[in-house]
């Protein structure tokens, strides 16, 4: 690692006052620590968000579930409120990485990083969640802006994310060594219809599969996902070529919609 200074503030305001170019935030560190160790980042100051109490925890407010940015994947996976109100989100969080990753990794860290193969972006986009920051509230549709790119300013800190309570399900085919999605589909039904978000597959990161949503809104029993166009260019790498990834998306969509139907029945 390159040398850096370290500070562990206890309030969001202190962190906000410090953050900026080369003064980087440390959340769960499950991506950033390996990045630092490989000398792919050279911050001057590391601002550890782990001791800011207001960033932790899960509560219900105004019919929505609010999850603090520093809430760990293991907490989301085992939380009674999330399991009963947003079941697909709990099962998704319980499948990220491995237990040690889930003990440290956080919702906010995952969203701010916006890895194209991460699970959380699919859930947040499909559920039309709202990302609340130290400056403003950002709707999911405006938050994700391509590979490792979000609407966040350099000095903006995610405080919490609010989700609707709706039936939902998530399924991924994972890259076995990392647990990241080769293709993952999060499906839910909101007031204005079905929504399917796909991660791990699109070259520009997480996206909504609009043809699948339209087909389901037209006929809720629709199941022929293999016949539908999948417009974004697919990621191609050593693990899977574009055709294989497209097929995984279609198979995952079929299975996850079947799970969603069980909840809706």
């Amino acid at each position: 690692m390159y040398e850096f200074d370290y500070v562990r503030p206890t309030t969001l305001q202190e962190a906000q006052d410090l953050v900026g170019e080369d003064k980087k935030l440390l959340a769960g560190g499950q991506t950033y620590m390996p990045t630092l160790r490989q000398r792919l980042a050279m911050p001057e100051l590391l601002i550890d968000l782990n001791a800011i109490p207001v960033l932790h925890g899960i509560c219900e407010a105004d019919d929505r579930i609010s999850i603090g940015a520093m809430t760990r994947h293991a907490e989301v996976a085992s939380d009674g409120l999330v399991r009963s109100k947003i079941p697909g989100l709990a099962s998704m969080a319980g499948g990220i990485g491995d237990p040690a990753v889930r003990h440290r990794g956080t919702l906010g860290g995952s969203l701010a990083n916006n890895d194209p193969s991460a699970c959380y972006p699919a859930a947040v986009l499909a559920l039309n969640a709202v990302v609340h920051t130290s400056k403003r509230s950002i709707e999911a549709k405006d938050f994700f802006q391509g590979l490792f790119t979000t609407a966040l300013d350099e000095d903006e800190i995610i405080s919490h994310v609010t989700f609707p309570s709706v039936p939902c399900a998530y399924l991924k085919f994972k890259q076995p060594a990392s647990g990241f999605a080769l293709a993952g589909v999060f499906a839910c039904k909101l007031d204005d219809g079905f929504r399917l978000a796909v991660t791990g597959a699109g070259q520009e990161g997480v996206f909504r599969w609009q043809q699948a949503e339209a087909a389901l809104n037209n006929d809720a029993s629709f199941g022929d996902f293999k016949s539908l166009a999948l417009e974004p260019d697919m990621i191609e790498d050593v693990h899977a070529d574009a055709d294989y990834r497209s097929n995984l998306v279609r198979v995952a969509a079929g299975r996850v919609v079947a799970q969603l139907r069980e909840q809706l029945a």
């Binding site: 370290y6 562990r8 499950q30 390996p34 160790r37 550890d48 491995d98 237990p99 040690a100």
Partner: protein
């Protein structure tokens, strides 16, 4: 930077550089070499320790982050010469071949059984996704975890 923490039940104050990883602090500064550094890429799990009761990879945490925390390493699981039920089970079921991954495996299984005292075989295998045994000795590791669960339930 100065940190105060508890390691294997002992209170401790130490001076660490911000860039010191927890695993290096444990092995080099504290001489607790039971925790192994296997992969350098946060994947193998040989470096797992318990932090406030949760298994984490000590190569993916900074020592400075542990100020105020309670850390248990493989050395802290036994009571003197008396092995913990998980350690005993690994010995009896031959849950190791070369032994390099074993500290992480034992810590991980200890955490699993604290949270889920009677796991199914499938739950054990899923839980151990973050622990790689390069000898591929998984069958007996899973058997050891099952035996440890039985021992703990009988105790």
């Amino acid at each position: 930077m100065k940190i105060s923490l508890k390691i294997n039940g002992q209170d401790l104050t130490a001076e660490v550089a911000p860039t010191t990883l927890l695993v290096d602090f444990l092995r080099s500064d504290q001489g607790l070499t039971g925790t192994h550094l296997g992969c350098d890429t946060s994947q193998c799990g040989a470096c797992m320790v318990l932090v406030n009761g949760d298994a984490v990879k000590s190569c993916t945490l900074l020592a400075v982050q542990l100020d105020g925390a309670e850390v248990t390493t493989i050395e802290g699981l036994s009571d003197g010469e008396t092995l913990s039920p998980v350690q005993e089970a690994f010995r009896e079921a031959h849950g190791l071949q070369c032994g390099f991954c074993t500290p992480g495996m034992v810590v991980s299984v200890t955490d699993l059984l604290a949270k889920n005292p009677n796991p199914s075989e499938s739950e054990i295998r899923h839980w151990l996704e973050g622990n790689i045994c390069r000898c591929t000795g998984y069958q007996n590791i899973v058997k050891a975890a099952q035996m440890a669960a039985e021992k703990q339930q009988a105790a």
